[in-house]
């Protein structure tokens, strides 16, 4: 019973103990490391399977239709069918394209996405490793994906692909700044950059303590994942070729999978930073076996939010997108940072800090909305007058 109570950690400890019986220490570390890598990569890649199907079913339900339901019950084997389709496509490299960059770009985009899984805390003690600069590591890896997109656009020998790549890179770089500033606010409050310590310091989940920081981070997350309403690269494909048009077959699958692996990773990061990770009202201390399930349930809620927004909102134009980042989110993130820093220094005790921060955030929301309604479009209020006078 004791064994089952903290099942995953105990299995790992028993296995490495058994190996240590007949292997030297370095071999045990090596084998445990390899097993860990395999498990993490499997989690990453199988998340693609689940997420593609889940997205299509959920968006189908939002649109009053069932979603894929031909392959297997409830369409379970649809990802398998998609995989077979992708694998059997011809791999074309355009003439005049830079062959090595063309080959390396999909690799460079998917590897950092998988590397993020190494530091995500899936449960109490269930994690790849506990780097004490965990969140900094994640931010650094996120930036490498940007380079891959530029490589993909450049190596296609297609000026429209290059233009599309420029736009995506502009979007990604602009939204990294509010994202990083929000992460700094979280790090400030928790006192450490290690993912495990961030979860452990959330007696009150940070979404309750500082909802504004969460919102800024959420909007930046939508933009970093280039999902709706910031999915301009898909709109680009209508008119100007998106950066991955010249890719087909397995290389295209890499780009596609990188998007979903990033989605899962980003939801996991949000869960860790803001939703309290694997903790849920002390249940995880009673039964640490449940902690990965709690973590994945919270992750799933975030992923559902991403799908929900995709099925609902139209796209934002590129100039509005960049204006939103630089003129609205960056000042807001800086103000948030100031508030969090001040409250953290002036108030003692975790619970009281949480309450004071919540009050401060609410005040901030009121002030921001007041400023927006003064500065915002005059035409908007005129149009809304027309709408309220609806005919009957």
């Amino acid at each position: 019973m004791e064994f089952v109570r903290d099942l995953f950690v105990n299995i790992g400890a028993w296995f490495s103990g058994w190996l240590g019986g007949f292997l030297p220490a370095w071999a045990v570390t090596l084998i445990m490391g390899l097993i860990g890598v395999i498990i993490l990569v499997v989690i990453g890649l199988s998340s693609v399977l689940v997420l593609t199907l889940g997205e299509r079913k959920v968006i189908g339900r939002i649109q009053d239709r069932p979603g894929p339901n031909r392959w297997g019950p409830f369409g379970i084997f649809q990802p398998v069918a998609d995989g077979i389709k992708m694998l059997t496509k011809e791999d074309i490299v355009p003439r005049g394209a830079d062959y090595w960059m063309h080959l390396l770009a999909p690799i460079i985009i998917i590897v950092p996405a998988l590397l993020i899984y190494a530091v995500l805390p899936f449960g109490a003690g269930v994690r790849g490793t506990d780097l004490n600069i965990g969140i900094l590591y994640i931010v650094a890896l996120g930036s490498i994906g940007t380079v891959a997109i530029l490589m993909a656009g450049w190596s296609s020998n297609n000026k429209y692909a290059l233009l599309g790549a420029f736009r995506v890179v502009a979007q990604l770089i602009s939204y990294e700044i509010p994202m990083v500033l929000s992460i700094v606010a979280v790090v400030l409050l928790s006192g450490s950059m290690s993912m495990v310590k961030i979860v452990e310091s959330q007696t009150v989940p940070y979404i309750v303590a500082m909802p504004m920081v969460f919102l800024v981070y959420l909007v930046s997350a939508f933009a970093e994942l280039y999902r709706a309403p910031f999915d301009m690269i898909e709109a680009d494909s209508e008119l100007v070729a998106g950066y991955f048009t010249e890719y087909s077959g397995m290389k295209f699958v890499m780009f596609f999978m990188a998007e979903y692996i990033n989605l899962m990773a980003m939801s996991a990061i949000i869960t860790t930073l803001f939703l309290g990770g694997w903790r849920f009202l002390g249940v995880e201390r009673l039964l640490p076996l449940l902690s990965p399930f709690i973590f994945f349930a919270k992750c799933g809620a975030m992923i559902f939010l991403f799908w929900w927004v995709r099925g609902t909102f139209p796209r934002i134009r590129i100039d509005h997108l960049l204006a939103l980042a630089w003129k609205f989110l960056v000042p807001l993130a800086l103000v948030n940072l100031m508030i969090v820093g001040l409250v953290d220094k002036l108030v003692e005790g975790a619970l009281l800090t949480g309450v004071v921060l919540l009050v401060a955030n609410i005040v901030e929301v009121v002030i921001v909305l007041a400023i927006l309604s003064l500065v915002g479009h005059k035409t908007r209020s005129k149009r809304l007058q027309r709408i309220t006078a609806r005919p009957r």
């Binding site: 939002i62 008119l239 909102f313 934002i316 590129i318 908007r380």
Partner: protein, 368 residues
């Protein structure tokens, strides 16, 4: 000194936005559009020439395929033109049926216009599916009456081809009540969306005098502030008996054109209500019409209606034989494109797509 030049970009005939085969040659200066030239004719089937070898009744299925979204109103325009030329009267019940079908057609066309405008905006098909769900209900009514959902072939010169079936009026009443709440729901769901407001307000502005001069008609004209509705001007059919307003919007940008469609749907629902209440009994086809259209007198007539896209009119010239000597179809979609260059000045590529969506084209109507 920097030497810049404009790029020519081809929004090619295979278009992801679902308006059909249409080509736009854009001259771009970076992001902003300097010049554009539409190239059309990919769907030209020569309907005008084909109709010169058919009898007057055989032309009616050809008119269905003009603007396939609103086939009933195409039939109505042709029927009115031929009736004007041959001097045929239409019985009462047929007029009421025509009004009901025409207003249902207006509703389904506007649903499709709103849905696909939102598809261009990037809302990933959700408004399209909601609008099409209601459209399917109306198409069920059409199938019940004339056997076909889209190519109805229903309104002939002299009346309508068959009478309404048994369960039509109760089902239509139920559907009409449902459509009232649906249009309201669509309005509240879509009109105030912040992203839509920032993308559509002051984009693609069409001033009223440019619109009149460019022969633009229909919801596009009324969204620019000009009160001109052929149902009220020409008093054709029995629209005088119904109490409805003609809404207009002031600014003429994409948001106004979208909202004009919603407002017109409210009015169409009102008309259908009144028509369903007041429909009399009687015959539905003028018996003398068949003889009159077999060999109408020599002459010519110009018959026009307010179709959901604009003014659809037929100019029928008869030389006394059984075939039309010349049948000219005035396409609302082609002429509504006349002011495209003025509307798109200085906008970016993403705006061009939604401006094109707000014009509500159907290529089959443009090319005939």
């Amino acid at each position: 000194m920097l030497k810049t030049e404009t790029i020519t970009l081809n929004l090619g005939p295979q278009h992801p936005s679902t308006h059909g085969v249409f080509r736009l040659k854009l001259q771009l200066d970076g992001e902003a559009v300097r010049d554009l030239e539409p190239v059309m004719g990919y769907l030209h089937r020569g309907i005008e020439k084909l109709s010169e070898e058919r009898t007057y009744v055989q032309v009616v299925p050809l008119t269905d395929r003009l603007d396939y979204v609103c086939s009933m109103t195409n039939n109505q325009a042709y029927a009115i033109a031929v009736e004007k030329m041959a001097g045929i009267e239409v019985p009462e019940r047929a007029e009421y049926i025509r009004v009901i079908m025409a207003e249902f057609t207006r509703i389904i066309n506007h649903l499709m216009a709103v849905g696909f405008l939102w598809n261009e905006l990037g809302a990933y098909f959700t408004p399209v599916v909601y609008c099409f769900r209601e459209r399917e209900r109306v198409l069920d009514l059409f199938e019940m009456t004339c056997g076909s959902r889209m190519m109805c072939n229903y309104m002939r010169p002299g009346g309508v081809s068959v009478d309404l079936p048994e369960g039509f009026i109760p089902q239509a009443k139920k559907l009409n009540d449902h459509l009232k709440t649906f249009v309201d729901e669509l309005d509240r769901l879509l009109s105030e969306n912040e992203i839509f407001l920032s993308r559509a307000v002051n984009v693609g502005v069409l001033p009223a005098d440019v619109a009149i001069n460019a022969s633009i008609t229909g919801p596009m004209l009324r969204a620019s502030g000009v009160l001109y509705d052929i149902r009220k001007v020409d008093h054709y059919s029995i629209y005088d008996r119904f109490d409805f307003e003609v809404p207009t919007c002031e600014h003429g940008d994409v948001w106004d054109r979208y909202y004009q469609h919603i407002l017109e749907m409210y009015q169409s629902v009102r008309i259908i209500d009144q028509a369903l209440d007041g429909i009399p009994q009687g015959e539905v086809m003028n018996k003398a019409a068949a003889k009159a259209t077999r060999r109408p007198p020599e002459g010519e007539a110009y018959g026009r209606i307010e179709s959901p896209k604009g003014e659809l009119s037929f100019y029928v010239v008869s030389d006394g034989s059984g075939n039309p000597y010349r049948l000219r179809i005035r396409p609302p979609s082609m002429i509504n494109l006349s002011a495209l260059k003025e509307m798109c000045q200085g906008h970016k590529i993403q705006d061009i797509v939604i401006i094109l969506g707000s014009v509500n084209l159907t290529m089959a109507d443009l090319d005939r």
